[in-house]
């Protein structure tokens, strides 16, 4: 509140110094009010992150690059590739289907039951990924699931004739899509809400068709938001651990499972720092994605705030 006003040199130095010191004290007292927050964040967020970063470069005898170079091992590179492919596929599928669903919601009554119910359901499913969804899918298409049994008994079709894919990468793609679509709805809906009906009317009054509207007006405006949301979905799928932990028990196909194995394996010991190196790799990938997302968010905010 006490904005500093630069006193001109006409005033004698003593009061000026006193004024600056007063301002300095007031500034320090203001900063004091934020100390609890910053202290908390430092202890529980900054320090763990630094522990991971430092640990990735620590070996038996101090600083070493061995863990980071060990990331080049074929099985770790494979895990990263599979993680990225899984995240990319589910991000794109989730983004397209989620955008369609979000658009369907926008055309409905703003405070109607449909929009409220779907938004609430999306909120739940986007957060509740993980164990509950894994069990939901086990109940649906697991080995003795509802749909599996139905298909086998009534249509003679064995879902798992070529191997039980539910507990491997294809299964993960299916289950991840289940929480990516709701997340897309939540993240993309505000952008769709920002589309003003006047733009549609303006396009029409200038003789444009629906195609023109979507390719020349709404499309370019929504593209940054759409891409940004897709990136967010990518980061979300890349970071996800619980679903895979509950579904997959063989092979650790993706990076989060490899990290778990590095920490808790009783067969291959001494991998704690390799686990930290893998964690560092994950942070770098997600940081890049989130930086791009932030850039796109700024473009979106310009038109659709």
């Amino acid at each position: 509140m006490a904005d500093v006003v630069d006193t001109p040199d006409l005033v004698a130095p003593k009061p000026e110094i006193r004024a600056h010191r007063r301002v300095g004290i007031a500034r320090a007292r203001s900063l004091l009010g934020t100390v609890p927050f910053f202290a908390y964040v430092v202890i529980f967020l900054v320090i763990p992150t630094l522990v991971v970063i430092i640990g990735a470069f620590t070996g038996d005898g101090g600083f070493t690059l061995a863990n980071v170079s060990a990331l080049g091992a074929a099985y770790i590179v494979d895990a990263f590739v599979r993680s990225i492919v899984l995240s990319a596929v589910t991000a794109v599928v989730g983004a397209v289907l989620g955008a369609l669903l979000a658009y369907a919601l926008v055309t409905a009554k703003p405070n109607g039951l449909l929009r409220r119910a779907v938004t609430a359901a999306s909120g739940v499913l986007a957060q509740f990924g993980g164990v509950t969804l894994a069990f939901a899918f086990l109940a649906t298409i697991g080995l003795s699931g509802f749909v599996t049994v139905f298909l086998k008994d009534h249509l003679g079709f064995d879902l798992y004739a070529n191997g039980v894919w539910l507990f491997e990468l294809p299964g993960l793609v299916l289950v991840y899509t289940y929480f990516q679509i709701p997340l897309m709805v939540i993240v993309f809906l505000p952008a769709l809400d920002g589309i003003r009906p006047q733009w549609r009317e303006a396009t029409e009054s200038l003789g444009g068709s629906t195609w023109n509207y979507w390719t020349r007006v709404a499309g370019p405006l929504l593209t940054p938001a759409f891409l940004g949301s897709t990136l967010l979905l990518f980061a979300n799928a890349f970071s996800a651990y619980a679903t895979a932990a509950a579904l997959v028990s063989q092979g650790n196909p993706i990076v989060p499972l490899q990290i778990r194995s590095a920490l808790t394996s009783e067969v291959v010991l001494g991998q704690q720092n390799l686990g930290k190196a893998m964690a560092l790799g994950m942070v770098i990938v997600v940081a890049v994605v989130m930086a791009l997302y932030a850039l796109l968010q700024r473009r979106t905010a310009k038109w659709l705030a």
């Binding site: 934020t34 739940v124 509950t132 749909v147 686990g275 930290k276 989130m290």
Partner: protein, 264 residues
């Protein structure tokens, strides 16, 4: 022109119901399957689920997990409010320059996945165990970090909607201390934002698995996963109950939040 609009509205309605129907089937099928799966064995599972004494006797780990999760949810919501509301108000009023920094920090948990955070939390929690014991409730500290992005966005939006500066100045000029300003002036005015933040917190904490599992603490999701190895039907029933409960909670929030706006 009116005919054009009417035709478009009809096309949109067809599109809307087609999309909602197809995706609705995709999303409701697992729910239906869960109901069917949990009902195998003659409805015994459902009867057990509503009978708390019997449930805690037959599945003590599940009962511990449920109680632990509820405690964690309540404590996290509380800690989040105590930490974020004063900080958000203070930064708005006194330190607008720090706003970008605080926003950045609150978005950081989105960039640092829980699986990475838990790797680094192990030494920090060794100290937490030393000071506060190894109870599951100490997970509150980690959970508050996880909810920061969502809670801060909600509270910040709420604060943007009211003129905090004027309110605070008026209260201070009438002789209120800062505590009174926060508690009796600012908080009542951002009630819906706070409620929304609290509900999001509860939903996130009830659905959290990674940190609890890798720090070996009790939690609803950890208990469900462990239960899945011994009783498939019970674990599916509890999962469904948790999902339905969270859905009802968020529906109530959206209805309640709107009613407050309307009553103003």
């Amino acid at each position: 022109m009116a005919g054009l609009i009417a035709r478009r509205a009809r096309r949109q309605r067809v599109f809307r119901w087609a999309v909602v129907l197809v995706l609705g089937v995709f999303f409701l099928l697992p729910m239906i399957a869960m109901v069917e799966f949990a009902s195998r064995g003659g409805g015994e599972t459902w009867r057990l689920l509503v009978d708390w004494p019997q449930l805690s006797e037959k599945y003590p780990d599940l009962a511990t997990g449920i109680v632990a999760s509820l405690g964690q949810a309540a404590l996290t919501a509380l800690l989040m409010l105590v930490l974020l509301v004063p900080t958000a108000v203070w930064v708005r009023l006194r330190l607008p320059g720090l706003r970008r920094l605080v926003e950045f920090i609150c978005l950081l948990p989105l960039t640092i996945p829980a699986i990475v955070l838990v790797v680094g939390l192990a030494p920090v929690y060794a100290w937490v165990n030393y000071f506060l014991g190894g109870s599951s409730l100490t997970l509150t500290f980690a959970y508050t970090i996880l909810v920061l992005p969502y809670a801060y966005r909600s509270i910040d939006t709420g604060l943007s909607a009211i003129d905090v500066k004027t309110l605070a100045e008026a209260a201070r000029s009438l002789g209120c201390g800062w505590a009174t300003v926060m508690w009796r002036v600012v908080l009542p005015n951002i009630r819906s934002a706070v409620l929304s933040a609290a509900f999001l917190t509860v939903a996130l904490v009830l659905g959290e698995f990674t940190i609890a599992s890798l720090l070996h603490r009790d939690n609803l999701q950890v208990a469900i996963e462990f239960l899945g190895k011994s009783s498939a039907t019970m674990s599916v029933a509890v999962s469904l109950a948790a999902l339905v409960l969270a859905f009802i909670m968020l529906m109530l929030l959206s209805l309640f939040g709107d009613r407050r706006k309307a009553s103003r």
